[in-house]
């Protein structure tokens, strides 16, 4: 039976390898048909910020890959509202990531859900497995 996996992303995308490693592990878990969702907190919210361009520091911009996650059956990406606000960001600063709902004539629906810190705690409590990156 599929378990509920939540991947917590707390770090900025390029200063360390955490964000990219998390993404790789997420793709592997999804290939095993688990129920995978992602959460972005603290500096992790920058991972799905619009307009990333790390060329000058010699890194590959892997942010387009988040747009492929819908095809892997990952349709829930929770972003903590307080983390955004603390950094002067709003939902408009995030990539408009969508998935196609197979049960609704492949209608495009948003994957990103901005939730409060309280709601995030509840989401974490509902998981079978939580990974923190």
């Amino acid at each position: 039976m599929a378990k509920k996996f939540l991947y917590l992303n707390r770090k900025a995308p390029y200063g360390s390898v955490y964000a990219l490693e998390s993404l790789e592990v997420v793709l592997i878990a999804a290939a095993f048909e688990q129920e995978v969702s992602l959460a972005f907190l603290d500096d992790g919210v920058y991972q799905i910020a619009k307009g990333q361009n790390p060329k000058a520091i010699g890194m590959k911009n892997f942010s387009p890959t988040y747009n492929a996650l819908g095809d892997y059956g990952i349709t829930k990406m929770y972003v903590e509202r307080e983390s955004l606000a603390e950094r002067g960001l709003t939902e408009d600063d995030l990539m408009p990531i969508v998935y196609e709902d197979e049960d609704d004539d492949y209608a495009e629906k948003p994957s990103v859900q901005v939730v409060s810190r309280m709601e995030m705690a509840q989401i974490m409590a509902e998981q079978d497995v939580t990974f923190s990156f």
Partner: protein, 112 residues
Amino acid sequence: MALDIGGKTIATDEEGYLENLNDWTPEVATAMALAEETPVALNDEHWEIINFLREYYEEYQIAPAVRVLTKAVGKRLGADKGNSKYLYSLFPYGPGKQACKYAGLPKPTGCV
């Protein structure tokens, strides 16, 4: 390992994937296919999938898992092509691994 393309040496890893993704040209794909134990002459059907994979990588920066590839091909090229039977008939070593290799992509994440 390495491929020799018209006198130019192209580096590949031990499984035959390109070391440097920018080295890819259509000639590289042709040479990789001919270098198989049972050489493959790439036809239009192969190229359709190879080109599809290159576009997918350009857009998402990953090589898709085979399940995702199958679904995406079905959406783009029709259900008669978006199924394992069709894709395995073109790429018997596994459409994920073999087609990604010819397309100059990294090995799909999660592929062992």
